[in-house]
């Protein structure tokens, strides 16, 4: 009996969402009086996961898994779940985890709930709270199967240190081949992605044109933030589609979301509801965004943003 958690890594190093998932799994294990087993694919830093509460780490090293393959990854996690007698499997909300989760659910005949925001409300019956209607509401769901799969919403639980000694062992499940082949991966490695970012700086139609995005990028770079935009901005081709956030775009669950020249339409807000702190910069005090934000400045972005950048640089140098 254990709680199994799949820990994602990039170039062998665990991502923050992996640390968060282990922290959360430890929380459930404590509720159940059980322990956490982590499975790591092509990372040999498994022992690090003890910091967040994993007492056992299964390290799977296999070159054929260097490129993500949902079916093979799901097979490996399912085998680990069976061998460990896992009652609960915890996954993050990354694109890869959301890809493999339903495959794993069928394989393990396990009920799966995505976008879970808290530790289970009760473990018998097993009930969890999760966001629905693109973060406009929450639901409580009971998972009725013997094995439960939880997709943890990003930044909902946070990374919590809970050090335990971790025993690391090699894990080599049998994996059958399948009909999927990754031909190429096209990924900007020097930029913070919206999915990973702690801070997101987002621009709307109020910025008038793509030529004005220099200051958005500068602001993002001072803050170590990812850049994003409203839907019309990507529809007009000012920015790439991958930056469009909202109900029909990407969800943002960062610690800080800064919206500049964005009116705050319901479809935009739906995508950013799970960001912790929202700041709006808009020259119209009546913009609906002010009703959804925590902090704001009423002012012209072309004046406020450059001042903000200068002030932040000053602040950083003082607090470095």
């Amino acid at each position: 009996m254990s709680v199994l958690v799949y820990t994602e890594s990039e170039g062998g190093t665990f991502k923050k969402i992996a640390q968060e998932a282990v922290s959360y799994a430890k929380g459930i294990a404590d509720q159940l009086g059980s322990t956490v087993t982590a499975i790591a694919i092509n990372s040999n830093h498994g022992a690090d996961l003890g910091t967040y509460g994993a007492s056992k780490v299964l390290e799977l090293s296999n070159d054929s898994l260097n490129k993500f393959n949902a079916e093979a990854y799901a097979q490996a996690i399912a085998t680990a779940a069976k061998e460990e007698g896992a009652q609960v499997v915890v996954l993050s909300s990354s694109a890869n985890s959301k890809f493999l989760a339903p495959l794993l659910a069928i394989e393990l005949e396990a009920g799966y709930v995505a976008n879970v925001t808290k530790l289970p409300i009760s473990t018998n019956p097993f009930t969890v709270k999760h966001s629905v209607f693109t973060n406009k509401a929450f639901a409580t769901s009971e998972i009725k199967t013997p094995i439960k799969i939880i997709g943890l919403a990003k930044n909902a639980y946070g990374v919590k240190e809970n050090p335990v000694p971790a025993s690391v062992s090699a894990f080599s499940p049998a994996l059958s081949s399948n009909g999927m082949e990754v031909v190429s991966v096209d990924k900007a490695t020097d930029k913070v992605t919206i999915a990973d970012a702690e801070i997101v700086v987002s621009g709307g139609r109020g910025l008038k044109g793509p030529e004005n995005w220099g200051m958005i990028e500068d602001l993002a770079s001072v803050l170590g933030a990812a850049t994003a935009c409203s839907k019309p901005v990507s529809d007009m081709g000012w920015r790439p589609h991958s930056e469009h956030v909202g109900q029909t775009g990407k969800p943002v669950a960062s610690n800080l979301y800064i919206a500049i020249g964005i009116s705050g339409a319901i479809q935009h807000l739906a995508g950013i509801n799970s960001s912790k702190v929202k700041v709006v910069i808009n020259n119209d005090p009546e913009a609906p965004f002010f009703k959804a934000a925590d902090y704001g400045i009423v002012g012209d972005a072309f004046e406020v943003v450059p001042q903000f950048i200068e002030k932040l640089k000053e602040f950083k140098s003082q607090n470095a």
Binding site: A70, S94, A95, N96, K98, F99, L100, A101, P102, L103, A105, I106, A110, G111, Y112, V113, K129, V132, F133, T134, N135, K136, A137, F138, A139, T140, S141, E142, I143, K144, G179, M180, E181, V183, V185, D186, K187, A188, K191, T193, A195, D235, S242, Q247, T248, L256, A270, K276, V277, V280, A293, D294, Y295, G296, I297, V304, Q307, F308, K311, F315
Partner: protein, 246 residues
Amino acid sequence: MKILVCISHVPDTTSKINFTNGDTQFDTNGVQFVINPNDEFGLTRAMWFKEKQGATVHVANVGGPETEPTLRKALAIGADEAIRVNTAATDGYSVAKQLANVIQEGGYDLVIAGRESIDYNGGMVPGMVAKLLGANFVNTCISLEIDGSNATAIREIDGGKETLKTSLPLVIGGQKGLVEESDLRIPNMRGIMQARSKPLHVKEPISANAETLVTEFEKPAPRGAVKLASDVDELVQLLHNEAKVI
């Protein structure tokens, strides 16, 4: 090529979300229902396969009679036939079981579903359908080309995209990018007239138990009023000292 587009029937994006019956049910009062946006991109891509590659396109929904106008809209956009599995959609798993049965009986080569439905946001039906059928599966699909039984798909990953080669039978979880917004079609009068006489089959469900059950809904706690900073100095101080995010 026989294509099935899975259509979920969801509240329009501007809908106010409320609950009734002691917060156990979604309040449909005054709510306009539409084709799930992710499915509309998929349906439009299916129309391209129909027009350019001679594909047959069916659409399916698992739901009660109230979803029929949404299926009729899909027929008006150009689908050839619609299937409604006559049972309430309870959880992702039971919906996937019903759809897998429809797909097996219909002998579809390609199944286009959406990355997620904007109501329950499970993002689980397409993957479960694929696994139940033993078909290949590509999620968050933003481009799809079919050549004979070979498929080339591009999927969105965190921070970029990935190109995949695979083959039919294939299930995708699609989204914007499969086609652009400007390619979406508003049904015209002729389409609407034709849709009235196209087949809409009502199929009785197979037995499929739900694995999860929603017991209660809740709206987010109302937030406090925005704090306006008079200048950037004050904003930086608030973000540092109060919000502790920088």
